[in-house]
Amino acid sequence: ENREDMLSSKSNRLTEALEEANKLFSGVSCAREAALDAQFLVLASNLGKEKANELHSEMTAFDSLAFAEDLLTFMGINRIEVEENDSDSEGISGGYLPSNAWHKLGEETEKYFRRAPSFHYMLGSFKSEPPVPRQRIERQKKATGGEAKRAMPAQLKKMEESHQEATEKEVERILGLLQTHFKNDPDTPISFFDLVIDPNSFARTVENIFHVSFIIRDGFARLKLDDDKLPIIEPSKDNEGKENDRGAGARNQIVISLNQQEWK
Protein backbone atom coordinates (compact mmCIF):
# COMPACT_ATOMS: atom_id res chain seq x y z
CA GLU A 1 0.00 0.00 0.00
CA ASN A 2 2.81 2.40 0.66
CA ARG A 3 4.13 2.27 -2.86
CA GLU A 4 4.99 5.93 -3.29
CA ASP A 5 6.65 5.96 0.07
CA MET A 6 8.80 2.96 -0.74
CA LEU A 7 9.71 4.37 -4.13
CA SER A 8 10.93 7.66 -2.84
CA SER A 9 14.67 7.83 -3.18
CA LYS A 10 14.89 9.35 0.23
CA SER A 11 13.41 6.41 2.07
CA ASN A 12 14.93 3.18 3.21
CA ARG A 13 11.57 1.62 3.79
CA LEU A 14 12.10 -1.03 1.14
CA THR A 15 15.29 -2.18 2.79
CA GLU A 16 13.60 -2.20 6.17
CA ALA A 17 10.72 -4.24 4.84
CA LEU A 18 13.11 -6.77 3.33
CA GLU A 19 15.00 -7.12 6.56
CA GLU A 20 11.80 -7.69 8.45
CA ALA A 21 10.70 -10.32 5.96
CA ASN A 22 14.00 -12.08 6.41
CA LYS A 23 13.48 -12.25 10.13
CA LEU A 24 9.95 -13.51 9.77
CA PHE A 25 11.00 -16.22 7.34
CA SER A 26 13.04 -18.01 9.97
CA GLY A 27 9.76 -18.57 11.83
CA VAL A 28 7.99 -20.04 8.80
CA SER A 29 6.85 -23.60 9.16
CA CYS A 30 4.07 -24.26 6.66
CA ALA A 31 3.66 -23.93 2.91
CA ARG A 32 1.12 -21.09 2.99
CA GLU A 33 3.52 -18.84 4.85
CA ALA A 34 6.27 -19.65 2.43
CA ALA A 35 3.97 -18.74 -0.44
CA LEU A 36 3.23 -15.40 1.16
CA ASP A 37 6.92 -14.83 1.56
CA ALA A 38 7.48 -15.59 -2.12
CA GLN A 39 4.72 -13.17 -3.06
CA PHE A 40 6.30 -10.51 -0.94
CA LEU A 41 9.63 -11.07 -2.64
CA VAL A 42 8.06 -10.54 -6.09
CA LEU A 43 6.47 -7.33 -4.90
CA ALA A 44 9.68 -6.15 -3.33
CA SER A 45 11.76 -6.90 -6.39
CA ASN A 46 9.30 -5.02 -8.60
CA LEU A 47 9.54 -2.04 -6.35
CA GLY A 48 13.29 -2.38 -6.35
CA LYS A 49 13.34 -2.37 -10.14
CA GLU A 50 11.20 0.73 -10.25
CA LYS A 51 13.45 2.47 -7.80
CA ALA A 52 16.42 1.59 -9.97
CA ASN A 53 14.61 2.96 -13.02
CA GLU A 54 13.96 6.22 -11.31
CA LEU A 55 17.61 6.49 -10.49
CA HIS A 56 18.49 6.16 -14.15
CA SER A 57 16.12 8.77 -15.48
CA GLU A 58 17.11 11.21 -12.82
CA MET A 59 20.55 11.39 -14.38
CA THR A 60 19.34 13.65 -17.14
CA ALA A 61 15.96 14.79 -15.97
CA PHE A 62 13.46 15.12 -18.76
CA ASP A 63 11.05 17.97 -18.24
CA SER A 64 7.87 16.60 -19.76
CA LEU A 65 5.90 19.72 -18.93
CA ALA A 66 8.22 21.88 -20.97
CA PHE A 67 8.08 19.31 -23.77
CA ALA A 68 4.30 19.46 -23.75
CA GLU A 69 4.31 23.23 -23.89
CA ASP A 70 6.80 23.24 -26.74
CA LEU A 71 4.69 20.70 -28.63
CA LEU A 72 1.62 22.87 -28.27
CA THR A 73 3.59 25.84 -29.53
CA PHE A 74 4.74 23.86 -32.55
CA MET A 75 1.19 22.74 -33.27
CA GLY A 76 0.18 26.38 -33.45
CA ILE A 77 -1.63 26.98 -30.21
CA ASN A 78 -3.26 30.32 -29.85
CA ARG A 79 -2.51 31.37 -26.31
CA ILE A 80 -5.10 33.49 -24.56
CA GLU A 81 -5.27 34.98 -21.12
CA VAL A 82 -5.31 32.20 -18.57
CA GLU A 83 -8.33 32.31 -16.29
CA GLU A 84 -7.49 32.09 -12.64
CA ASN A 85 -9.83 29.45 -11.33
CA ASP A 86 -9.79 26.47 -13.69
CA SER A 87 -6.83 26.06 -16.04
CA ASP A 88 -3.98 26.23 -13.57
CA SER A 89 -5.43 23.73 -11.15
CA GLU A 90 -5.93 21.16 -13.89
CA GLY A 91 -2.44 21.65 -15.19
CA ILE A 92 -3.69 22.41 -18.69
CA SER A 93 -2.51 25.73 -20.06
CA GLY A 94 -5.03 28.02 -21.62
CA GLY A 95 -5.22 28.47 -25.32
CA TYR A 96 -6.96 27.40 -28.44
CA LEU A 97 -5.54 24.50 -30.43
CA PRO A 98 -6.39 24.70 -34.14
CA SER A 99 -8.05 21.69 -35.75
CA ASN A 100 -5.09 20.89 -38.00
CA ALA A 101 -2.70 20.86 -35.03
CA TRP A 102 -2.05 17.13 -35.09
CA HIS A 103 -1.78 17.01 -38.88
CA LYS A 104 0.82 19.71 -38.72
CA LEU A 105 2.77 17.76 -36.16
CA GLY A 106 2.37 14.52 -38.09
CA GLU A 107 3.77 16.04 -41.27
CA GLU A 108 6.88 17.13 -39.45
CA THR A 109 7.16 13.71 -37.86
CA GLU A 110 7.23 11.76 -41.10
CA LYS A 111 10.88 12.41 -41.70
CA TYR A 112 11.73 10.57 -38.50
CA PHE A 113 9.99 7.40 -39.65
CA ARG A 114 10.79 4.91 -42.35
CA ARG A 115 7.19 4.04 -42.94
CA ALA A 116 6.30 2.07 -46.03
CA PRO A 117 3.69 3.96 -48.05
CA SER A 118 0.43 2.04 -48.10
CA PHE A 119 -0.20 0.21 -51.32
CA HIS A 120 -3.67 0.81 -52.79
CA TYR A 121 -5.04 0.12 -56.22
CA MET A 122 -5.71 3.48 -57.82
CA LEU A 123 -9.20 2.65 -58.96
CA GLY A 124 -10.14 0.66 -55.89
CA SER A 125 -11.19 -2.94 -55.94
CA PHE A 126 -14.40 -4.79 -56.76
CA LYS A 127 -17.37 -4.08 -54.56
CA SER A 128 -18.95 -7.25 -53.27
CA GLU A 129 -22.62 -6.18 -53.32
CA PRO A 130 -24.52 -5.77 -56.58
CA PRO A 131 -25.83 -2.24 -57.05
CA VAL A 132 -29.15 -3.41 -58.57
CA PRO A 133 -31.57 -2.44 -55.75
CA ARG A 134 -30.31 1.13 -55.74
CA GLN A 135 -30.98 1.48 -59.46
CA ARG A 136 -34.60 0.48 -59.08
CA ILE A 137 -35.34 3.14 -56.51
CA GLU A 138 -33.65 5.74 -58.63
CA ARG A 139 -35.74 4.80 -61.64
CA GLN A 140 -38.95 5.15 -59.67
CA LYS A 141 -37.96 8.53 -58.40
CA LYS A 142 -37.04 9.69 -61.88
CA ALA A 143 -40.47 8.60 -63.21
CA THR A 144 -42.22 10.65 -60.57
CA GLY A 145 -39.98 13.60 -61.26
CA GLY A 146 -40.82 13.37 -64.94
CA GLU A 147 -44.53 13.44 -64.24
CA ALA A 148 -44.18 16.45 -62.01
CA LYS A 149 -42.33 18.25 -64.72
CA ARG A 150 -45.15 17.71 -67.17
CA ALA A 151 -47.80 18.80 -64.69
CA MET A 152 -46.15 22.07 -63.68
CA PRO A 153 -43.89 23.21 -66.47
CA ALA A 154 -44.08 26.88 -65.61
CA GLN A 155 -42.93 26.50 -62.06
CA LEU A 156 -40.02 24.19 -62.75
CA LYS A 157 -36.70 25.76 -61.88
CA LYS A 158 -34.86 22.96 -60.10
CA MET A 159 -35.76 19.35 -60.79
CA GLU A 160 -35.21 18.07 -57.26
CA GLU A 161 -37.13 20.78 -55.48
CA SER A 162 -40.28 20.51 -57.55
CA HIS A 163 -40.11 16.74 -57.47
CA GLN A 164 -40.15 16.85 -53.69
CA GLU A 165 -43.05 19.31 -53.55
CA ALA A 166 -45.02 17.48 -56.18
CA THR A 167 -44.78 14.25 -54.24
CA GLU A 168 -45.97 15.87 -51.04
CA LYS A 169 -48.78 17.65 -52.84
CA GLU A 170 -49.91 14.46 -54.47
CA VAL A 171 -49.84 12.55 -51.23
CA GLU A 172 -51.88 15.21 -49.52
CA ARG A 173 -54.31 15.33 -52.40
CA ILE A 174 -54.89 11.61 -52.33
CA LEU A 175 -55.27 11.62 -48.57
CA GLY A 176 -57.79 14.43 -48.93
CA LEU A 177 -59.76 12.41 -51.49
CA LEU A 178 -59.74 9.40 -49.21
CA GLN A 179 -60.93 11.32 -46.20
CA THR A 180 -63.64 13.13 -48.14
CA HIS A 181 -64.98 9.87 -49.52
CA PHE A 182 -65.08 8.41 -46.04
CA LYS A 183 -66.82 11.39 -44.55
CA ASN A 184 -69.55 10.95 -47.13
CA ASP A 185 -69.73 7.20 -46.94
CA PRO A 186 -68.11 5.86 -43.78
CA ASP A 187 -69.13 2.26 -44.17
CA THR A 188 -67.80 1.55 -47.58
CA PRO A 189 -64.10 1.00 -47.73
CA ILE A 190 -62.47 1.85 -51.01
CA SER A 191 -60.98 -0.82 -53.13
CA PHE A 192 -57.25 -0.20 -53.31
CA PHE A 193 -57.19 -0.82 -57.00
CA ASP A 194 -60.09 1.50 -57.65
CA LEU A 195 -58.16 4.21 -55.96
CA VAL A 196 -54.82 3.84 -57.62
CA ILE A 197 -55.48 2.58 -61.10
CA ASP A 198 -55.57 5.16 -63.78
CA PRO A 199 -57.25 3.53 -66.79
CA ASN A 200 -55.35 5.77 -69.14
CA SER A 201 -51.84 5.64 -67.86
CA PHE A 202 -49.77 2.81 -66.48
CA ALA A 203 -47.11 5.18 -65.30
CA ARG A 204 -49.65 7.24 -63.42
CA THR A 205 -50.92 4.07 -61.77
CA VAL A 206 -47.48 3.21 -60.50
CA GLU A 207 -47.10 6.73 -59.29
CA ASN A 208 -50.38 6.55 -57.41
CA ILE A 209 -49.31 3.37 -55.66
CA PHE A 210 -46.10 5.14 -54.71
CA HIS A 211 -48.00 8.05 -53.18
CA VAL A 212 -50.45 5.84 -51.34
CA SER A 213 -47.54 3.97 -49.82
CA PHE A 214 -46.52 7.19 -48.09
CA ILE A 215 -49.93 7.60 -46.61
CA ILE A 216 -49.83 4.09 -45.23
CA ARG A 217 -46.26 4.42 -43.98
CA ASP A 218 -47.17 7.49 -42.00
CA GLY A 219 -50.19 5.78 -40.54
CA PHE A 220 -52.89 7.96 -42.06
CA ALA A 221 -54.54 5.02 -43.74
CA ARG A 222 -54.63 1.28 -43.44
CA LEU A 223 -54.64 -1.49 -45.98
CA LYS A 224 -56.79 -4.53 -45.29
CA LEU A 225 -57.98 -7.55 -47.21
CA ASP A 226 -61.73 -7.84 -47.69
CA ASP A 227 -63.80 -11.01 -47.91
CA ASP A 228 -62.74 -11.54 -51.46
CA LYS A 229 -59.10 -11.23 -50.45
CA LEU A 230 -58.81 -7.99 -52.39
CA PRO A 231 -57.02 -5.08 -50.79
CA ILE A 232 -59.09 -2.21 -49.46
CA ILE A 233 -57.95 1.04 -47.98
CA GLU A 234 -59.47 3.15 -45.24
CA PRO A 235 -58.24 6.22 -43.42
CA SER A 236 -57.32 5.69 -39.80
CA LYS A 237 -58.37 7.97 -37.02
CA ASP A 238 -55.46 10.14 -36.04
CA ASN A 239 -54.34 8.61 -32.76
CA GLU A 240 -55.13 5.13 -33.97
CA GLY A 241 -52.71 5.42 -36.80
CA LYS A 242 -49.88 6.76 -34.72
CA GLU A 243 -50.34 4.16 -32.03
CA ASN A 244 -50.18 1.39 -34.52
CA ASP A 245 -46.94 2.78 -35.72
CA ARG A 246 -45.24 2.29 -32.42
CA GLY A 247 -46.69 -1.07 -31.64
CA ALA A 248 -44.43 -4.03 -32.01
CA GLY A 249 -45.16 -6.00 -35.12
CA ALA A 250 -47.59 -3.37 -36.36
CA ARG A 251 -45.41 -2.66 -39.35
CA ASN A 252 -45.78 -4.94 -42.27
CA GLN A 253 -44.29 -4.81 -45.68
CA ILE A 254 -46.12 -5.64 -48.82
CA VAL A 255 -44.67 -5.98 -52.24
CA ILE A 256 -47.12 -5.28 -54.98
CA SER A 257 -46.16 -6.27 -58.44
CA LEU A 258 -48.11 -4.97 -61.35
CA ASN A 259 -47.04 -5.19 -64.89
CA GLN A 260 -48.62 -3.68 -67.92
CA GLN A 261 -50.47 -6.86 -68.88
CA GLU A 262 -52.15 -7.09 -65.51
CA TRP A 263 -52.98 -3.41 -65.55
CA LYS A 264 -54.71 -3.77 -68.89
Binding site: F74, S99, Y112, F113
Partner: protein
Protein backbone atom coordinates in the same frame (compact mmCIF):
# COMPACT_ATOMS: atom_id res chain seq x y z
CA UNK B 1 23.26 -38.62 -48.55
CA UNK B 2 20.90 -40.72 -46.39
CA UNK B 3 17.18 -39.91 -46.69
CA UNK B 4 15.91 -37.52 -44.06
CA UNK B 5 14.78 -39.40 -40.95
CA UNK B 6 11.53 -38.38 -39.33
CA UNK B 7 11.25 -38.45 -35.58
CA UNK B 8 8.99 -41.34 -34.48
CA UNK B 9 5.43 -40.21 -34.04
CA UNK B 10 5.98 -36.96 -35.92
CA UNK B 11 5.05 -37.88 -39.48
CA UNK B 12 4.31 -34.59 -41.21
CA UNK B 13 0.65 -33.88 -41.85
CA UNK B 14 -0.44 -32.10 -45.01
CA UNK B 15 -1.52 -28.44 -45.05
CA UNK B 16 -1.88 -28.03 -41.33
CA UNK B 17 -0.81 -24.43 -40.87
CA UNK B 18 2.49 -23.72 -39.31
CA UNK B 19 2.71 -26.75 -37.03
CA UNK B 20 4.16 -29.37 -39.32
CA UNK B 21 6.66 -26.85 -40.63
CA UNK B 22 8.11 -26.25 -37.22
CA UNK B 23 8.02 -29.90 -36.22
CA UNK B 24 10.15 -31.08 -39.11
CA UNK B 25 13.60 -29.54 -39.06
CA UNK B 26 13.96 -26.37 -41.18
CA UNK B 27 15.45 -27.33 -44.53
CA UNK B 28 19.07 -26.36 -44.83
CA UNK B 29 20.26 -24.13 -47.62
CA UNK B 30 21.55 -27.03 -49.68
CA UNK B 31 18.27 -28.90 -49.20
CA UNK B 32 16.36 -25.87 -50.44
CA UNK B 33 18.61 -25.66 -53.48
CA UNK B 34 17.91 -29.30 -54.22
CA UNK B 35 14.16 -28.80 -53.80
CA UNK B 36 14.34 -25.91 -56.21
CA UNK B 37 15.47 -28.25 -58.94
CA UNK B 38 12.12 -29.96 -58.85
CA UNK B 39 10.32 -26.86 -60.09
CA UNK B 40 10.53 -24.65 -63.10
CA UNK B 41 11.75 -21.07 -62.98
CA UNK B 42 8.31 -19.86 -64.00
CA UNK B 43 6.64 -21.64 -61.14
CA UNK B 44 8.98 -20.17 -58.59
CA UNK B 45 8.73 -16.68 -60.08
CA UNK B 46 4.97 -16.94 -59.98
CA UNK B 47 5.08 -17.68 -56.28
CA UNK B 48 7.49 -14.82 -55.68
CA UNK B 49 5.15 -12.38 -57.44
CA UNK B 50 2.18 -13.66 -55.48
CA UNK B 51 4.06 -13.19 -52.24
CA UNK B 52 5.07 -9.64 -53.16
CA UNK B 53 1.44 -8.73 -53.88
CA UNK B 54 0.27 -10.44 -50.72
CA UNK B 55 2.72 -8.54 -48.56
CA UNK B 56 1.89 -5.19 -50.15
CA UNK B 57 -1.81 -5.62 -49.52
CA UNK B 58 -1.38 -7.03 -46.02
CA UNK B 59 0.76 -4.05 -45.11
CA UNK B 60 -2.06 -1.57 -45.75
CA UNK B 61 -3.32 -1.72 -42.19
CA UNK B 62 0.22 -1.89 -40.78
CA UNK B 63 -0.58 -5.06 -38.88
CA UNK B 64 2.49 -7.31 -38.89
CA UNK B 65 2.27 -10.35 -41.15
CA UNK B 66 2.59 -13.83 -39.72
CA UNK B 67 4.58 -16.55 -41.43
CA UNK B 68 1.70 -18.95 -40.83
CA UNK B 69 -0.54 -16.77 -43.01
CA UNK B 70 2.09 -16.57 -45.71
CA UNK B 71 2.47 -20.33 -45.75
CA UNK B 72 -1.23 -20.97 -45.84
CA UNK B 73 -2.35 -18.31 -48.28
CA UNK B 74 0.56 -18.09 -50.70
CA UNK B 75 3.24 -20.75 -50.37
CA UNK B 76 1.13 -23.87 -50.10
CA UNK B 77 2.96 -26.84 -51.61
CA UNK B 78 6.11 -24.84 -52.12
CA UNK B 79 6.95 -24.74 -48.44
CA UNK B 80 10.06 -26.78 -48.97
CA UNK B 81 11.54 -23.80 -50.83
CA UNK B 82 10.00 -21.20 -48.55
CA UNK B 83 13.22 -19.47 -47.67
CA UNK B 84 14.17 -19.02 -51.31
CA UNK B 85 10.79 -17.50 -52.19
CA UNK B 86 10.94 -15.11 -49.25
CA UNK B 87 14.45 -14.02 -50.09
CA UNK B 88 13.57 -13.32 -53.69
CA UNK B 89 10.39 -11.48 -52.67
CA UNK B 90 12.46 -9.35 -50.36
CA UNK B 91 14.83 -8.49 -53.17
CA UNK B 92 11.95 -7.54 -55.49
CA UNK B 93 10.40 -5.35 -52.83
CA UNK B 94 13.68 -3.59 -52.36
CA UNK B 95 14.64 -3.14 -56.00
CA UNK B 96 11.21 -2.37 -57.40
CA UNK B 97 9.37 -0.70 -54.52
CA UNK B 98 12.12 0.62 -52.30
CA UNK B 99 10.75 -1.37 -49.38
CA UNK B 100 12.46 -3.60 -46.89
CA UNK B 101 10.94 -6.83 -45.61
CA UNK B 102 11.95 -7.15 -41.98
CA UNK B 103 11.35 -10.04 -39.62
CA UNK B 104 10.67 -8.21 -36.38
CA UNK B 105 10.07 -11.34 -34.34
CA UNK B 106 12.39 -14.22 -35.15
CA UNK B 107 10.78 -16.48 -32.58
CA UNK B 108 7.19 -16.19 -33.80
CA UNK B 109 8.18 -15.27 -37.36
CA UNK B 110 6.40 -11.99 -37.91
CA UNK B 111 7.22 -9.55 -40.72
CA UNK B 112 6.70 -5.88 -41.52
CA UNK B 113 7.48 -3.67 -44.48
CA UNK B 114 9.42 -0.49 -44.01
CA UNK B 115 10.75 2.06 -46.42
CA UNK B 116 14.24 1.50 -47.71
CA UNK B 117 14.62 5.05 -48.92
CA UNK B 118 15.06 8.30 -47.03
CA UNK B 119 11.88 10.31 -46.68
CA UNK B 120 11.34 12.61 -49.65
CA UNK B 121 10.70 16.25 -48.99
CA UNK B 122 7.45 17.75 -50.00
CA UNK B 123 3.84 17.61 -49.05
CA UNK B 124 2.18 14.34 -48.31
CA UNK B 125 -0.39 14.06 -51.08
CA UNK B 126 -2.46 11.37 -49.43
CA UNK B 127 -4.25 13.39 -46.78
CA UNK B 128 -5.83 11.11 -44.27
CA UNK B 129 -5.79 10.48 -40.59
CA UNK B 130 -2.57 8.49 -40.75
CA UNK B 131 -0.48 11.63 -40.59
CA UNK B 132 -2.15 12.89 -37.45
CA UNK B 133 -1.85 9.45 -35.83
CA UNK B 134 1.86 9.48 -36.56
CA UNK B 135 2.14 12.77 -34.68
CA UNK B 136 0.45 11.24 -31.65
CA UNK B 137 2.62 8.17 -31.91
CA UNK B 138 5.94 9.99 -31.95
CA UNK B 139 4.84 12.03 -28.97
CA UNK B 140 4.18 8.85 -27.00
CA UNK B 141 7.39 7.17 -28.19
CA UNK B 142 9.38 10.27 -27.22
CA UNK B 143 7.87 10.35 -23.78
CA UNK B 144 8.64 6.68 -23.22
CA UNK B 145 12.24 6.94 -24.43
CA UNK B 146 13.09 10.13 -22.57
CA UNK B 147 11.70 8.61 -19.38
CA UNK B 148 14.06 5.66 -19.64
CA UNK B 149 12.47 3.35 -22.22
CA UNK B 150 9.43 2.58 -20.15
CA UNK B 151 6.62 4.58 -18.61
CA UNK B 152 3.57 3.80 -16.53
CA UNK B 153 0.19 4.20 -18.16
CA UNK B 154 -0.80 6.82 -15.61
CA UNK B 155 2.21 8.95 -16.51
CA UNK B 156 1.63 8.60 -20.26
CA UNK B 157 -2.01 9.68 -20.09
CA UNK B 158 -1.21 12.47 -17.66
CA UNK B 159 1.26 13.76 -20.25
CA UNK B 160 -1.24 13.41 -23.10
CA UNK B 161 -3.81 15.31 -21.07
CA UNK B 162 -1.58 18.35 -21.32
CA UNK B 163 -1.91 18.06 -25.08
CA UNK B 164 -5.72 18.03 -24.80
CA UNK B 165 -5.92 14.27 -25.38
CA UNK B 166 -8.07 12.49 -22.82
CA UNK B 167 -8.84 8.78 -22.67
CA UNK B 168 -12.43 9.28 -21.57
CA UNK B 169 -13.44 11.88 -24.16
CA UNK B 170 -14.04 11.53 -27.87
CA UNK B 171 -11.21 13.39 -29.58
CA UNK B 172 -11.96 15.65 -32.52
CA UNK B 173 -9.21 14.09 -34.63
CA UNK B 174 -8.56 10.66 -33.12
CA UNK B 175 -12.02 9.62 -31.97
CA UNK B 176 -11.63 6.90 -29.37
CA UNK B 177 -8.05 7.72 -28.37
CA UNK B 178 -7.82 5.03 -25.72
CA UNK B 179 -8.70 2.40 -28.32
CA UNK B 180 -6.26 3.88 -30.81
CA UNK B 181 -3.37 3.80 -28.37
CA UNK B 182 -4.06 0.61 -26.44
CA UNK B 183 -5.41 -1.48 -29.32
CA UNK B 184 -4.44 -0.20 -32.76
CA UNK B 185 -0.91 0.92 -31.92
CA UNK B 186 -0.35 -2.30 -30.00
CA UNK B 187 -1.66 -4.53 -32.79
CA UNK B 188 0.56 -2.72 -35.24
CA UNK B 189 3.45 -3.35 -32.84
CA UNK B 190 4.27 0.33 -32.45
CA UNK B 191 3.69 0.03 -28.71
CA UNK B 192 3.98 -2.75 -26.22
CA UNK B 193 1.73 -2.56 -23.19
CA UNK B 194 2.24 -5.07 -20.41
CA UNK B 195 0.47 -5.31 -17.07
CA UNK B 196 2.53 -4.66 -13.96
CA UNK B 197 2.06 -7.66 -11.68
CA UNK B 198 0.34 -7.41 -8.34
CA UNK B 199 -0.96 -3.91 -8.84
CA UNK B 200 -4.42 -3.12 -7.66
CA UNK B 201 -6.07 -1.37 -9.48
CA UNK B 202 -4.10 -2.87 -12.37
CA UNK B 203 -1.40 -0.66 -13.86
CA UNK B 204 0.41 -1.05 -17.16
CA UNK B 205 3.86 -0.46 -18.52
CA UNK B 206 4.26 1.25 -21.90
CA UNK B 207 7.29 0.48 -24.03
CA UNK B 208 8.33 0.70 -27.64
CA UNK B 209 6.97 -2.10 -29.81
CA UNK B 210 9.02 -4.16 -32.25
CA UNK B 211 7.83 -2.10 -35.23
CA UNK B 212 8.76 1.20 -33.61
CA UNK B 213 12.30 -0.02 -33.13
CA UNK B 214 12.61 -0.67 -36.87
CA UNK B 215 10.67 2.24 -38.35
CA UNK B 216 12.39 4.83 -36.27
CA UNK B 217 15.27 4.93 -33.83
CA UNK B 218 16.20 6.39 -30.48
CA UNK B 219 18.48 8.77 -32.34
CA UNK B 220 15.64 9.99 -34.56
CA UNK B 221 13.24 10.38 -31.68
CA UNK B 222 15.82 12.30 -29.65
CA UNK B 223 16.38 14.54 -32.66
CA UNK B 224 12.64 15.13 -32.78
CA UNK B 225 12.53 16.14 -29.13
CA UNK B 226 15.54 18.38 -29.65
CA UNK B 227 13.87 20.03 -32.63
CA UNK B 228 10.67 20.71 -30.72
CA UNK B 229 12.49 22.05 -27.68
CA UNK B 230 15.04 23.97 -29.77
CA UNK B 231 17.98 22.39 -27.99
CA UNK B 232 20.88 20.21 -29.01
CA UNK B 233 20.37 16.46 -28.58
CA UNK B 234 23.46 16.36 -26.37
CA UNK B 235 21.54 18.40 -23.81
CA UNK B 236 20.13 15.13 -22.48
CA UNK B 237 23.40 13.32 -21.86
CA UNK B 238 22.29 9.85 -20.85
CA UNK B 239 19.58 9.64 -23.49
CA UNK B 240 22.06 10.88 -26.10
CA UNK B 241 24.63 8.29 -25.12
CA UNK B 242 22.07 5.54 -25.18
CA UNK B 243 20.78 6.64 -28.59
CA UNK B 244 24.29 6.69 -30.03
CA UNK B 245 24.97 3.24 -28.65
CA UNK B 246 21.86 1.71 -30.19
CA UNK B 247 22.23 0.75 -33.85
Amino acid sequence: VPPQQHLPGFAPQGGDGDEDFSLSPTPSHSQVQRNLQRRSQDQINQKVSELVQFLLVKDQKKIPIKRADILKKVIGDYRDVYSEIVNRAGRTLQQVFGLQLVEIDTKHHVYILISDLPRAEGENLHRDNQTAKLGLLIVILSFIFMKGNSAKDGAVWEFLRRLRVQPGERHEVFGDVKKLVTEEFVRQKYLEITPIPLTDPPEFKYQWGLRAAKETSKKDVLRFVAQIQKKDPTFWTSQYNEAEATP
